[in-house]
């Protein structure tokens, strides 16, 4: 089959089809739900990989694009496609899917059919958001995703799961609803100027300026900022993360948060470049503040999962600085850093989940000396921790370096603050590592913990491989970003000369 839109659609909808099948399994076949879900998500990864390899970095604009009539009464079309930025996000989602499924095999024992169906439906929703080229489709996927996530947290979550899931849902939806009002305004404004009813993303470049542009920009920015989450809109995140089951946390941190930043890059900034120029610095400043705030809050946590959750606020803060500075290196770094954060934080949540399954506690004080009992696990956790801190040679370094390098020229103050956050991350992450893994085994319950099992190895190895791969040879990933990043900066009105993230000798 040609590598084209059909493959893209298969990659998007295969998980949904599998979800329906799994939900309809007879009760006595419930034990098949997990393996089937794994098979489906692995199968869905194949077309995604083919798309990634078949993507031509030299071509501008969207690839594998498809544009079909859908709701003709509204002028809405079914339009999907990928550029370099969405391709990386798409790939990350498809990659984390099987890992999230595999990590749930022992953790989830109740209502397994519904669980795996939700997980796979969520997968389709996320892939759809990244592939959408039409505002209505984008919005539909964006919101539809909330339903399975709500179930994942609300049914299989921890003690305060109901509070956390309702808060997550209402918080994110409330922000999105204002975005809906803004979409409608844009839609009719476009019609009154051109006579055409359309939701195509490409029709709305520089859609509004002045006071109106600012209001609309803020409506979009609020929806995206809640998802990122940008301080002070982050309060849903610790609750949702802590209460979610491990797979939910992996997806939440790995992919969902990125949608906020992706929304800024794909919609908010190109639609309203003028407003983004004005509001860019304050929003990036919120990001930079979030770096310090998230780091300090993470430092103060006793609960490992909460610590990782707050560290996400910090990491995404840096990414926001990079995405809004409109400097090619920083933007490219921001996109890569989104992938990095997805990998390393996903891996961190995975590891915390493994510990929790063994001891049913997430308090650092209950551990200590785990390195003696579970040496292999300790090594894995170390690599992941170092990746999160941004040690050179691992993936986190490349992304953070590019962001700081790019933004320093334009916003030195914010870059310096973000740099402070990078240093702080070493403090709290290594502090946590020390408390959990080093020292004597003080708690007798920890003496007999089994080390990593085969299934767990299968979960972490792909993540570790990519963490090292991006750290050592990032060109394989950056190469596909060049065109899209330059396009974004051009749409955003940045006056930068074309720039390549990959300096290849000829």
């Amino acid at each position: 089959m040609m590598i084209g839109p059909d493959l893209l659609n298969i990659a998007i909808y295969l998980p949904l089809a599998a979800a329906v099948g799994i939900a309809l399994l007879p009760r006595d076949k419930e034990h098949l739900a997990g393996p089937l879900a794994l098979a489906a998500s692995l199968l869905a990864f194949v077309p995604a990989l083919a798309l990634y390899l078949g993507f031509d970095p030299a071509l501008p604009g969207m690839q594998f694009a498809q544009d079909l009539p859908w709701l003709s009464a509204l002028g809405a079309r079914y339009a999907v496609g990928l550029d370099g930025i969405s391709l990386l996000m798409f790939m990350l989602t498809a990659f984390l899917g099987p890992i999230a499924v595999l990590s749930s095999f022992t953790a989830v024992k109740e209502h397994r059919r519904f669980y795996y169906a939700s997980l796979l439906a969520l997968q389709t929703g996320m892939l759809g958001v990244f592939a959408a080229l039409d505002l209505l489709i984008f919005y539909v996927f964006w919101e539809a995703m909330l339903i399975p996530m709500y179930f994942l947290i609300g049914i299989w979550g921890g003690k305060r799961r109901i509070y956390a899931s309702v808060k997550f849902f209402i918080y994110t939806m409330a922000g999105s609803l204002l975005m809906l009002a803004a979409i409608l305004w844009l839609y009719f404004d476009h019609q009154s100027r051109t006579g055409i009813y359309t939701f195509a993303l490409s029709a709305y470049g520089n859609a509004a300026a002045g006071g109106t542009g600012m209001l609309l920009f803020l409506a979009f920015a609020l929806a995206f900022a809640i998802k990122v989450p940008l301080w002070p809109f982050h309060t849903w995140l610790p609750d949702a993360h802590v209460e979610a089951p491990t797979a939910g946390s992996i997806i939440l941190a790995g992919v969902l948060l990125k949608m906020g930043v992706y929304g800024f890059i794909r919609i908010a900034v190109p639609f309203f470049p003028e407003a983004a120029m004005t509001a860019g610095w304050p929003i990036a400043a919120l990001g930079a503040f979030g770096v310090i705030y998230g780091s300090l809050t993470a430092w103060a946590q006793d609960d490992i999962k909460k610590l990782v959750a707050y560290s996400s606020v910090a990491h995404l803060g840096i990414v926001m600085v990079g995405a809004l500075v409109l400097e090619p290196a920083a933007v490219g770094g921001a996109v890569l850093q989104m992938v990095n954060h997805g990998l390393s934080t996903g891996a961190l949540f995975l590891c915390v989940g493994m510990l929790y399954e063994r001891r049913h506690t997430r308090l650092m004080a209950d551990y200590g000396g785990i390195a003696k009992v579970m040496p292999a696990f300790a090594a894995v956790f170390m690599i992941v921790t170092l990746s999160s801190i941004g040690l050179p040679g691992l993936n986190g370094f490349i992304g953070e370096f590019l962001i700081l390098f790019g933004s320093f020229k334009v916003w030195p103050c914010l870059a310096l603050i973000s740099l402070g956050g990078v240093i702080l991350s070493a403090v709290y992450m290594l502090g946590m590592y020390q408390k959990v893994f080093f020292g004597p085994v003080t708690n007798p319950a920890n003496k007999e913990l089994p080390d990593l099992k085969v299934r767990e190895w299968l979960c972490v190895l792909p993540l570790l491989a990519l963490i090292v791969w991006i750290g050592v040879y990032p060109n394989f990933f950056l190469k596909r970003l060049d065109t899209a990043v330059n396009d974004y900066i051009r749409l955003a009105g940045g006056q930068r000369p074309p720039f390549s993230l990959v300096q290849e000798g000829k």
């Binding site: 519904f114 539909v140 539809a144 339903i147 049914i155 939806m173 809906l180 305004w185």
Partner: protein
């Protein structure tokens, strides 16, 4: 000519005659008779000849618009009758009377939407209401009596307002045709009396549609009436009332009315959603939610006449979800007090099919994509933006955000709660519920199917 007249009367007779026959049959057969009648009428309207006749001037108009409106009303009535549980019928309702009164009320709704003059509208309104007064009071309990009494008193009050309004309107405009409302803005004398009169006419229907400040009866009546009757009132009757309101509103097209309806919409959405928040009884919660939905519909009115496809589509989706939700409540009802949130706990484990259906209906009412309720709301709000009321849309989306809380509380109870009592043996899930469920699930993705015919019927609006 005679054949044409038959085209017009056939659907009405197909509903009315089996209903009268139902009075004479045993309960099980009465149900079948009413259902068959409604279904036959539905088929007749769908596949009957081209409709374009006005045998008595404006008094009865059978055109493509009437056809569409009848399809909506008949569909809702058929679904409500089909989903009436046998058990509820035995315990709460005298079956023969129920299967007689409900179709007759439907005939009234059909007549109301097919007539172009205000006297006809008023008579039809009475035909709608009288059977409902009796049905609301069908339960011989204090709550049932309260429901019937309240509905009767306030309904009569609303009808009186309508008559008064017609008198004002006739006195100043000199016509009882709906389309003469367009003349109000051009009147040299008595313009105030005419516009006030027309507003009074609309007030009568605002009662039936449950707009603030005419919504006070809704929670008590929906809760006290037998649940199948509530389902009918919240879907078919409400759809009829909103449609006739829209017709009147669009016919007058007065800037003053836009202002009044702007506030009515804002207050209705706010009051309905806020009052629904603390409710523990599902029926009462759905009652307040139906008030809120009337507010969303009014938001769409801001788009004027061209908003008709949006209003129509939204009503179809809303009616399907509401009938579905109320019918599930009727099926799950075990005692006099109705279903509370606590009763829904653990439903997902006990009966996954009904749980999933309830979730679909509720999420659609909440307007979450990809369910049809989202597309309905989206297009409705779009009309308000097009009409130049983005402020009202902001209020509407904020109200929707508030509504999430109580809709989610239903879903949370179903899926995250554990049952207090062991699950009752599982009963079958009626096919009609699956039909409504799939419509609500997929209807939005195929909204063209509704929007395009409705857009084609636009020229027939007075």
């Amino acid at each position: 000519m005679e054949k044409n007249l038959l085209d017009l009367t056939a659907p009405l007779l197909l509903v009315a005659v089996p209903a009268i026959v139902a009075l004479l049959l045993r309960p099980a057969w009465a149900a079948r008779a009413a259902g068959i009648g409604l279904f036959a009428a539905l088929l007749n309207v769908s596949f009957g000849g081209p409709a374009n006749i006005m045998p008595f001037g404006q008094s009865l108009v059978y055109d493509p618009l009437t056809k569409l409106l009848w399809l909506l009303i008949l569909g809702a009535a058929f679904a409500a009758v089909d989903l009436t549980p046998r058990a509820a019928c035995a315990a709460q309702l005298p079956a023969n009377e129920y299967y007689f009164l409900l179709p007759i009320s439907t005939v009234g709704l059909m007549a109301m939407l097919a007539t172009g003059d205000l006297i006809g509208v008023f008579i039809a309104l009475e035909v709608v209401s009288l059977p409902l007064y009796a049905l609301a009071a069908a339960r011989r309990t204090a709550a049932g009596a309260e429901a019937g009494y309240k509905y009767f008193l306030l309904g009569s009050f609303g009808a009186a307002l309508t008559v008064l309004g017609i008198a004002f309107f006739y006195g100043s405009v000199g016509s009882v045709l709906i389309q003469s409302a367009a003349a109000i803005s051009g009147l040299k004398v008595n313009q105030a009396a005419a516009s006030a009169g027309f507003l009074l006419i609309m007030a009568g229907f605002a009662f039936k549609a449950a707009l603030v400040p005419f919504h006070m009866w809704v929670p008590d009546v929906y809760e006290g009436a037998p649940t199948p009757v509530s389902a009918f009132m919240a879907s078919a009757v409400k759809a009829g009332a909103v449609l006739i309101l829209f017709r009147l509103f669009a016919a007058a097209d007065l800037p003053l009315y836009y202002k009044i309806f702007w506030w009515a919409a804002a207050l209705t959405m706010a009051a309905g959603n806020i009052a629904a928040l603390p409710q523990a009884g599902v029926k009462r919660m759905l009652a307040y939610s139906s008030v809120a939905h009337a507010g969303y519909l009014l938001t769409g009115f801001m788009g004027g006449k061209a908003a008709f496809p949006a209003v129509y589509f939204y009503l179809a989706v809303y009616a399907a979800a509401t009938i579905g939700a109320f019918s599930l409540v009727a099926i799950l009802e075990k005692h006099e007090k109705g279903v509370t949130l606590a009763d829904l706990r653990g439903l997902a484990a006990a009966d996954p099919a009904k749980a999933a259906l309830m979730a679909v209906f509720v999420l659609s009412l909440a307007g979450i994509p990809p369910l049809a309720g989202f597309f309905g709301k989206f297009w409705l709000f779009a009309q308000a933006v097009r009409g130049g009321s983005p402020g009202l849309v902001v209020i509407a989306v904020l109200a929707s955000a508030v509504s999430l809380y109580y809709y989610l509380s239903i879903i949370t109870a179903i899926y995250a709660g554990k049952a207090d009592t062991p699950a009752a043996p599982r009963a079958g899930t009626p096919a009609m519920l699956w039909l409504l469920g799939s419509f609500v699930l997929l209807g939005g993705l195929a909204a063209d199917f509704f929007l395009l015919p409705a857009a084609n019927a636009l020229p027939f609006l007075p």
